[in-house]
Amino acid sequence: MQQDAPLLTEESRPKLASFVRMQRDEVRESWVLQAPERILILDETGKAILDRCGEGRSLAEITQVLAAEYDAPPGEIAEDVMAVLTLLAERGFLEVD
């Protein structure tokens, strides 16, 4: 798939698709994303990134916010943000402006 154009750039502004529900699952003690025939159990990184999505934020802005909150190197955070959101977009969980 290397030949494909990237689905997201640092300027993309993703948010959860209208039909996707993020909810707490008490049986698994995890946050999960629900979409038709798709369930994704989120780890802490995924949840932290999704919590800062929406409200028109770009990937670059999400990285900034997380880097400030966690006092972590923006380079590493940017990689996580891109990887997590690309995976979610590939699987149809996101709408991207």
């Binding site: 494909d4 209208s18 699952d25 038709p36 025939e37 149809g92």
Partner: protein
């Protein structure tokens, strides 16, 4: 199971298929319902379904697929949806669409319905109405799909594919795009029950399958991020079997109209097993302890060539129902596997049937 290998692998189920009724206005010759259809008088009541839903949620189920037959034939469907919503389940209505209208959709949405999946039998009316044996069905489905999107509900278009419609795979993808679907499910016929009866009329050729697979793969790339395409592969031309149900008793279960709880909706085709009822035991007990759920959990039940195979965890021996249907032994390797001694016969059957003449459907009724 004394060593506990099944028990240690026991995880909570994630999804439940609720077959609310076997009644349906369509008569598709590949229907996944059993040959012996259950009657309305046997069906679980509203309160029984609501109770099943609450138990399922407590057990860990996150998604409910409301199916049938035709689930909208149940006048209490909105009450059942509301129970799913109250229990925190993501609800998916799996429907032919032909009994829906704007008012019914509004009621279901208000009850908390999350998603609608409409089946199309073809990209064109002539083929679709012939498969469903229901005149005007295709046009009605187009209209109802539009209503679903206008109601603000997400839509999956589901098309079961076979020799009679597979050459229109491009049109099928275009149909899903034109209907503003979020997801397209292209499912090759799975040959149990009705479909096995009609196999000679439905079996595609290898060339048809290869073409369709190529088209789907290209479309997945082209519409990435816009239309998700799920592709249920055709067993008869496979080299290795599918990991059926992601493992028997692993993530899913089905409840039939009269309340039998099954590891898969086709499990009743395996004779000699006992099928527990939600009228007689709790879902938690049945999931953990019923003989039928433990019978093929994990890998302990396997015979050769599965038992010592390096792929045994990857596909878990394939489909138990198919193994039973084609070999008479539910513990056999799924003949879809090239390592099965029955594989050559299965492939030869497919090739011979794909070359047979015009369809002569035995309709489900």
């Amino acid at each position: 199971m004394a060593d506990g290998s099944a028990a240690s692998a026991l995880r909570p189920p994630i999804a439940m298929l609720a077959e609310l009724t076997h009644r349906c206005p369509l008569q598709c010759p590949y229907c996944s319902n059993p040959l012996d259809l259950q009657r309305r008088s046997e069906e679980l009541s509203t309160e029984e379904w609501c109770n099943v839903i609450r138990q399922a949620a407590a057990l860990g189920v996150m998604q409910i697929h409301l199916s049938g037959g035709e689930p909208t034939a149940r006048p209490d469907l909105a009450e059942i949806v509301a129970a799913a919503q109250a229990a925190g389940l993501y609800s998916n209505l799996i429907t032919s669409g032909v009994m829906l209208d704007e008012a019914k959709l509004a009621t279901l949405k208000a009850a908390g319905l999350d998603h609608v999946q409409i089946s199309f039998q073809d990209s064109r009316a002539a083929g679709g109405d012939l498969i469903g044996n229901f005149k005007g069905g295709h046009e009605k489905k187009l209209a109802v799909s539009k209503l679903v999107r206008e109601a603000g509900l997400p839509l999956t278009v589901n098309v079961v594919v076979h020799r009679q419609n597979l050459d229109r795979i491009e049109e099928i993808i275009d149909l899903a795009l034109a209907l503003d679907a979020h997801r397209l499910e292209v499912a090759h016929v799975q040959y149990y029950g009705w479909a096995l009866t009609n196999r000679a009329s439905l079996m595609p050729s290898r060339a048809q399958v290869d073409h369709a697979t190529e088209v789907v793969e290209a479309a997945r790339k082209e519409y990435r991020g816009r239309l998700a395409i799920d592709y249920v592969v055709p067993d008869y031309y496979a080299r290795y079997p599918k990991k059926c149900m992601d493992g028997w008793g692993s993530q899913y279960f089905a409840v039939t109209p009269r309340g039998r709880m099954l590891p898969c909706h086709a499990a009743e085709t395996i004779t000699g097993l006992e099928f527990p009822s939600v009228r007689e035991g709790s879902l938690a007990e049945i999931w953990a302890s019923a003989e039928i759920f433990n019978r093929f959990r994990g890998t302990d039940w396997m015979a050769e060539p599965c038992r010592s195979c390096e792929h045994r965890e990857r596909d878990l021996g394939g489909c138990r129902c198919q193994a039973f249907a084609l070999t008479g032994d539910a513990t056999a390797t799924d003949p879809a596997c090239s390592l099965s001694p029955h594989h050559a016969v299965m492939l030869a059957t497919a090739q011979a049937e794909a070359d047979s003449g015009d369809p002569d459907y035995i309709y489900r009724r």
